[in-house]
Symmetry: C2
Subunit: 341 residues, 2 copies
């Protein structure tokens, strides 16, 4: 079944076993060109019997075609990215392209390294989260000559194509809804944002929209690390101790929002009457909580799908190098924690 020594099998082995030239074997294995049914059958039988697995490294070098799409994201533990990955995988299925994931840990230096590493495999395209990269990273992306899609965020200048939502507008929109619903004394709870540019942009959009209406954030609270659910509880407790007059809490993500919601619920606070709440993301993980948190859908799956489609379209027809810009519209869901105006 297997070969005696540990030398991996080559086309040549299959060629000898089946009595056909290497070239014909190659054609059979790739379903290319005309091969008689008899030959095809013979080759496939030999390949299977030997347990031959083609060497894509050699194939890629010879054909300068690599069916990989580099996907570069900050983290896998942040629920959001697995969902994007799902969209990408689904869209890439049956295109012959394969996603390869690299994780940056929200660090620009790590991103640069991961990108360099991935580009050195000469992928057919790159999907990368965010618009903020080091100069070197941007230079590499531009010089690579392959399609690049930046995802999640559209507030900024992309290298090539971009698919995402405007986090700034998402923040603005939520601020307007909150005001429209009659809340007045608004607190903000979120992550420390030195690196999470999207959270920062939402925050900026939020405060600016409030400012336009003459409202200022009454208080704010930031966290880092730890279980988001617990942090949400703790921060909510803290901010309300400091400022019991708050009538709305805007959380920068649904997990801390859920923590706050659970705590307030236990305290018997009237939601959304006495206190309104909203988060961000629409994690359907959270369906099943005692009440549904108001939130905004970040279109994660669709972002992944559209980005992958852009890449595969470019690969199929590289005569179309015009950058695409897709700004999706997140939809607000009121849940049970935001008074309908």
């Amino acid at each position: 079944m297997s070969n005696q020594d540990n030398r991996p099998l080559t086309l040549r082995d299959v060629s000898e076993a089946s009595g056909v030239s290497e070239m014909t074997v190659s054609r059979v294995l790739r379903n290319r060109g005309d091969v008689s049914d008899a030959t095809r059958a013979r080759v496939l039988a030999s390949a299977k019997e030997l347990g031959y697995v083609p060497n894509k490294i050699a194939g890629a070098l010879a054909s300068s075609r690599v069916n990989l799409v580099a996907v570069i994201i900050p983290s896998l533990s942040n629920l959001v990215f697995p969902e994007v990955m799902t969209g990408i995988s689904d869209a890439l299925d049956d295109t012959g392209l394969q996603p390869v994931v690299g994780v940056t840990g929200y660090s620009r230096e790590k991103e640069e390294k991961v990108l360099y590493e991935m580009l050195s495999w000469r992928p057919s395209g790159v999907i990368i989260a965010g618009l903020e990269h080091s100069e070197a990273s941007r230079a590499m992306l531009k010089a690579s000559g392959i399609p690049v899609v930046e995802i999640m965020d559209v507030d900024g200048t992309p290298v090539d194509s971009v698919v995402g939502i405007s986090h700034r507008r998402a923040g603005e929109q939520m601020a307007r809804e909150i005001l429209r619903s009659g809340y007045q004394r608004i607190g903000f709870l979120g992550t420390k944002m030195p690196r999470d540019h999207r959270a920062r942009k939402r925050f900026e959009g939020f405060t600016e929209a409030l400012a336009k209406a003459g409202v200022e954030i009454a208080d704010q609270e930031f966290y880092e690390g730890g279980s988001a659910l617990i942090k949400g509880r703790e921060m909510t407790q803290d901010i309300l101790k400091r400022d019991p007059e708050l009538d709305f809490l805007y959380y920068s993500n649904d997990m801390i929002g859920a923590g706050g919601l659970l705590w307030l619920h236990e305290q018997g606070v009237d939601i959304p009457g006495q206190m309104g709440l909203a988060g961000f993301n629409g994690l359907n993980l959270l369906k099943g909580l005692p009440r549904q948190l108001a939130t905004m859908d970040a279109c994660r799956n669709e972002i992944g799908r559209r980005a992958a489609e852009i890449i595969s379209a470019r690969v199929a027809d590289d005569a179309d190098p015009s950058p695409v810009r897709i700004a999706l519209e997140p939809t607000i869901s009121y849940g049970d924690t935001l008074r309908r105006p």
Copy 2:
């Protein structure tokens, strides 16, 4: 900065720009062999200026060394696997090895395809979830001649090395704890298990340990798809409607357990007095719920780390082909939903 036409840069370009042979450029870029400081500086400057990114495909073909480790898992949305990935990434950092993820969607056929695809890149090792694979997959793994580590589960016959816990024993242990705490009428709630072998093994271990004590599962309920939190609520409601006499519910994972817990909590059920609950996994996502669900830690991070260490040890010293078997001991945490005996 970049080249005029779209031809990717090669060693030759750097060689010409720096006036040194390709071979010397190659040595500089890989930090191999003796190169004078002057030459090194000149080469690095040229490479940087041109924006040269080495072609690993050619490098791998020439050296037959590939610094990739294939990681094959069923899913990314199941919280569990990102945690394993984190363990793997951490252990692989600074070894020069890079994990590459493939996702099977719990399907053997897909697993076979993904494995074939990954092996065709001639990785330095394979980490693959579970012990149940198609015959063809097992054959490929054996024939590959590279280190293979099967993870998560140790109940079965590995191809090579294995790192995990015994899910059968985990089920048994939980059954014993429940009986020891004095619960008598026990219900089981879980996923439909045609493909989740680990959930199945826990279930089997659980029922067998009960049987040994002369106890039978009083009722059971299975689900598939949808938000686990909601499913947990619904299933709990359903099973108790059918059988209100139950005094313990064992859930096959913490998410449905949390759903059940929330619902029972809302109904004012006395937990763990009137009703005991336990899940499986120790997702620290869930810290912050009104009460802490009893559960068992599946050692996910450590599994990833240990598996990666096995691979990197083999790569560093391939004179050590003896398979390793690591069975970790999951620890039970009582939380607030299992009476201490």
